[in-house]
């Protein structure tokens, strides 16, 4: 396949996007249905050409055509096939094309899915989606084209290859999963924008995007968790979240999207919070684009940032246009947007949702504040002050705990208002259990935050379980079913509600894992064969250290025996220090890599990193970390994904 075909396809997609927008605007003025059909088909054509372009680049990566600069920079002959595919999103121009590719898939599904639905919304939905595509087509056609030919005054006999750190299956999956989340919010945003233009503000647009929002949210959540898991397994600093600007960039839209997912329930059920829902979806989509700006502009010192490029101002301008046009339009529609109904009582479920939303948005603001703190302080007093994890933790731990509390409180409240009698009935069991457990944790002399966090986890689990038991009991009585069948049927009949509760359960387990961080212990030391060192009541004995030459790297391997305080054998850890490209005569092209070894249990992880070896090859320098409860973060992640899939699962007709 000729690479020129890819570049030409990108050009054609650019042309089609402009024509599609023009045709649909003309349809809105003339109501000539033929113009709508032209615009709609051109919308499909944009996606078709983007697909061709992406497949051409994928093919060039597979056949190692180093005449294309992108292929020469991110692959080599030795790059395994799976990583030649993942090289598609390893670099800047490729990842932008990949963004566009996913957006085109979503655009195609939206158009096909709604061919005979939402006739008044669809023209503006397609215009909005095509405009977003146009923005990325401008970037990939004119600013950073992935089909740029290689410019070197020598023959490229082999490419650079993909960084060994990225040659990890999680790292191959993490970026596309995040992209699916980021890009997925384009569709709900497009429907919101179309609803605003058409003054069709009721529950219709909400119903049409609920599933899309949930899908995007699932991908964003899984993408964030996978990123943390990869960092924990590969990067060797023993943590999974560093409050890095780029991590924050994915967390901020997740917070507003989670708020949105909750508040659309109120609009669906009670036709309230219309303005608020508009604000949330506009913010979510803008934050997705803003996140891409943070990653690419180099404005923040992040470990993730791509090379500084001219893309920053372009992205920022796009965010500005989205915010001004959306909020401007919203302001002009404020009369029709205002809901005629009001929240009646503080102890109502609507009010619970509202406060949960408030906390999500406040947390998003806190993360935004910390992320942009260097820019803010520089503007105020000329000193650029950056903030680190202790700052984010100090601000966000109390906010997060308030959110955790609301996760338990919300489902126990009734719509419109909860009587005092029902308040006591619903809250008694979880509250008593939470208080009893807090006394137990205080007795164990745990710190204040740990006591609050663990007690709230127990309170929320008790609240969720009591909801399940209550529902199952009613079914059991009514249909004379076994408890198991009653629970199954209850979930099947009300998937979004009970799927949501399962997601909450996942979140609680993740909080258990986060709280375990308070007990982390670590030590770095040099150790000779036969020596023993102690960390957190475990003894680490270096049994042997040896070297091995393997097909694509050279490795020093340590064999560390771990025993507990009573001398019982716990595990054998074998962290490695590897050097990839070890035969490369240019020492700077050799790539050292620490291959960790982690002994993971439900209770704690023992995490070992082989830092370096002394020049006489006798002393190994290792870092040992004992991280309690980390596994619950990943288990919580699985449960979160499982609950979301249940909520998404289509009903039997």
């Amino acid at each position: 396949m000729n690479p020129l075909a890819g570049a030409v396809a990108l050009n054609l997609a650019f042309g089609c996007s402009i024509l599609s927008i023009i045709a649909l605007i003309a349809y809105n003025r003339t109501s000539d249905f033929r113009l709508f059909l032209v615009g709609q088909r051109l919308g499909l054509a944009i996606s078709f050409f983007v697909f061709i372009s992406t497949f051409v680049l994928g093919h060039q990566l597979m056949i190692s055509n180093f005449d294309i600069d992108y292929v020469a920079r991110y692959t080599s002959f030795e790059t395994p096939t799976v990583y030649k595919i993942s090289a598609l999103w390893a670099g800047q121009s490729g990842s932008l094309l990949f963004w566009l590719f996913i957006l085109s898939i979503f655009n195609t599904i939206t158009i096909i899915q709604n061919q005979s639905k939402h006739h008044n919304l669809m023209p503006w939905v397609i215009i909005t989606l095509s405009t977003i595509q146009l923005f990325f087509l401008v970037l990939t056609n004119f600013i950073t084209n992935p089909f740029e030919p290689t410019q070197a005054d020598f023959e490229i006999v082999n490419g650079n290859g993909l960084n060994p750190l990225l040659q990890n299956i999680t790292m191959a999956i993490h970026p596309p999963t995040l992209y699916l989340g980021y890009v997925g919010f384009s569709v709900p945003f497009a429907f919101a924008f179309a609803a605003l233009v058409n003054k069709d503000i009721g529950a219709l647009w909400i119903q049409s995007i609920r599933r899309w929002t949930l899908v995007a949210w699932l991908f964003l959540s899984v993408g964030i968790i996978l990123g943390g898991w990869w960092a924990y397994q590969e990067l060797g600093w023993g943590g999974y979240w560093a409050w890095d600007p780029v991590e924050n960039a994915s967390f901020m839209p997740w917070l507003t999207a989670t708020a949105f997912l909750h508040s659309i329930i109120v609009q669906e059920k009670k036709d309230m919070l219309r303005v608020w829902n508009m604000v949330l979806i506009i913010l979510t989509f803008s934050l997705c684009i803003f996140g891409t700006f943070l990653t690419r502009s180099g404005v923040m010192s992040s470990v993730h940032s791509f090379t500084e490029s001219s893309l920053g101002p372009v992205f920022l301008s796009f965010v500005f246009i989205i915010l001004v046009s959306s909020f401007g339009l919203m302001y002009s529609r404020i009369g029709v947007l205002r809901s005629p109904r009001r929240i009646e009582s503080v102890s109502s479920r609507e009010s619970g949702f509202l406060f949960n939303n408030l906390i999500f948005v406040v947390m998003c603001f806190a993360v935004f504040w910390g992320t942009l703190f260097p820019v803010i302080t520089e503007a105020v007093n000329g000193n650029k002050i950056s903030v680190g994890p202790p700052f984010f933790n100090q601000i966000n731990i109390p906010i997060g705990l308030a959110l955790l509390a609301l996760t338990g409180i919300g489902p126990l409240l009734a719509w419109r208002g909860t009587s005092n009698k029902r308040l006591i009935q619903n809250f008694a069991f979880p509250t008593i259990l939470g208080l009893l457990s807090s006394m137990f944790f205080i007795f164990l002399k745990m710190s204040v935050y740990v006591v609050i966090s663990f007690s709230l986890c127990i309170f929320v689990v008790a609240a969720i379980l009591s909801e399940f038991v209550k529902g199952a009991k009613v079914r059991k009585r009514k249909f004379n079913e076994s408890l198991f069948k009653a629970i199954y049927k209850m979930i099947e009949k009300n998937r979004s509600r009970y799927g949501g509760y399962i997601v909450h359960l996942g979140i609680v387990l993740m909080f258990v894992g986060f709280t375990g961080h308070a007990f982390d212990k670590e030590k770095e030391f040099g150790i000779k064969v036969g020596d023993t060192k102690s960390v957190a009541n475990y003894d680490f004995t270096l049994i042997k250290m040896y070297e091995e030459e393997r097909p694509n790297h050279y490795a020093w391997i340590t064999d560390i025996r771990v025993t507990d305080m009573f001398g019982n054998f716990v595990t054998q850890l074998r962290p490695e220090k590897r050097v990839y490209f070890h035969k490369n005569p240019d020492i700077n092209k050799r790539q050292p890599h620490s291959e960790l070894d982690i002994y993971s249990t439900l209770n704690k992880d023992i995490y070992s990193i082989f830092s370096s070896v002394s020049s006489d090859n006798l002393t190994a320098f290792v870092k040992i970390m004992v991280n309690p409860l980390v596994k619950w973060v990943w288990i919580g992640g699985y449960i979160l994904a499982f609950g979301t899939v249940i909520a998404l699962w289509p009903r039997k007709e």
């Binding site: 020469a72 470990v303 320098f621």
Partner: protein, 142 residues
């Protein structure tokens, strides 16, 4: 909106704004904040607070202690300005000559004692293309 709810919302917002303001001015951990500064202005001025600097590791400047491999020093270069940096923890894999790094720590008597050392992450793996002189196919087994 119910006035009770409205007052509660305002109350929550005020508490949070106060809380963010408080932590921004009085962080509990001294490692919570660091001032970004260029190598040049650090060399020419005295700073006692926690600092953050970015730059390139000068070629051939990395010295690793024979007795404790965790201890290393190197020269951080930003433009023409240079600074001696000491770091005694596990070094990131991408740390090497010419690597772009960010260090955080304190400046004492001409030496910067870093307790954090970050190298740019894998997504910045964008080096120069290889020519035949520095890369030969037969030298790399697959």
């Amino acid at each position: 909106m119910n006035s009770k709810i409205f007052s509660l919302i305002i109350g929550v917002l005020l508490v949070v704004v106060f809380w963010i303001g408080w932590v921004s001015t009085n962080p509990a951990d001294k490692k919570a904040m660091a001032q970004f500064i260029s190598v040049e202005s650090l060399v020419n001025n005295n700073f006692s607070q926690r600092l953050k600097l970015g730059g390139i590791v000068k070629d051939g400047s990395i010295l690793i202690s024979e007795t404790n491999q965790l201890e290393c020093s190197f020269v951080l270069k930003e433009g023409d300005a240079e600074l001696y940096v000491n770091y005694s923890k596990t070094r990131p894999d991408l740390f090497k000559d010419g690597a772009e790094v960010i260090v955080t720590g304190e400046y004492v008597d001409g030496m910067f004692y870093a307790d954090e050392l970050q190298t740019k992450c894998a997504s910045r793996y964008e080096g120069d293309l290889r020519n035949e002189a520095n890369y030969k196919l037969e030298e790399l087994d697959t």
